[in-house]
Symmetry: C2
Subunit: 148 residues, 2 copies
Amino acid sequence: MPDPRDPRTRKTDTLATLATPAIDVWVASASGEGAPHLVPLSLAWVEEQVVVAVEASSVTARNVTTSGVARLAVGPTRDVVMIDAVLDRTVEVADDELGAAYAAQADWDPRRSTGYVFLVLRPVRVQAWRESDEIAGRTLMRDGDWLV
Amino acid sequence: MPDPRDPRTRKTDTLATLATPAIDVWVASASGEGAPHLVPLSLAWVEEQVVVAVEASSVTARNVTTSGVARLAVGPTRDVVMIDAVLDRTVEVADDELGAAYAAQADWDPRRSTGYVFLVLRPVRVQAWRESDEIAGRTLMRDGDWLV
């Protein structure tokens, strides 16, 4: 097993992961009654924010719009980026700059479908680790500020 | 891209996935206030139930013990098994049949640590899909009963 990565390397790896074409993100959300939801969605990383396209009527859209928060995971379980995020804004999918940015990274184009909205999620805490030896030092962003 | 799998094949694949040695599960849970949580954990599949070992003081233990529910995902995002589960029981990790069964499948042995409990989670809904062409027919279990 390789040595644990230093914080700078983890941040570099994290940003590379988030910019990977056609990568998915696990989006965990919860209803006001505390029912957990979890779905895999295509991700775009636009101006240091996570953008996902969801059906406006979906459980995820409803939960995140109501609560304003989501917890995200990118990568396999042994090389994860975990993000606690707040909803910056919900916007209609349109043929604009955001729509183009999303379609450029994701492997599908919601501008060709109807009923979708973008959830623009701003990270407030970011953690990255591979194996248990990387649990220490896993926090790269806290309260919206990169620590490295 | 291969043809969509039929329900029987999906169930066979799902059961094989759940019995895979050293496989992880994403566990989504929520607090009573609706704060979503998500962590990757080692899974064991014991008597048609998902067993995970967590620190008794962890957010996941607290959420699931309080709410009695979790949403689980196994596999990569393009070959997922999604499980809505209810908490069957929480038990102290001990050198008993369950401890042995967990250690036999997981890649670590919580019996060698202290402060861990097993969450034994009973699936009530199971879905499995790879790509978007498998969204139709993804439900394999509903209300605790296999449909195939």
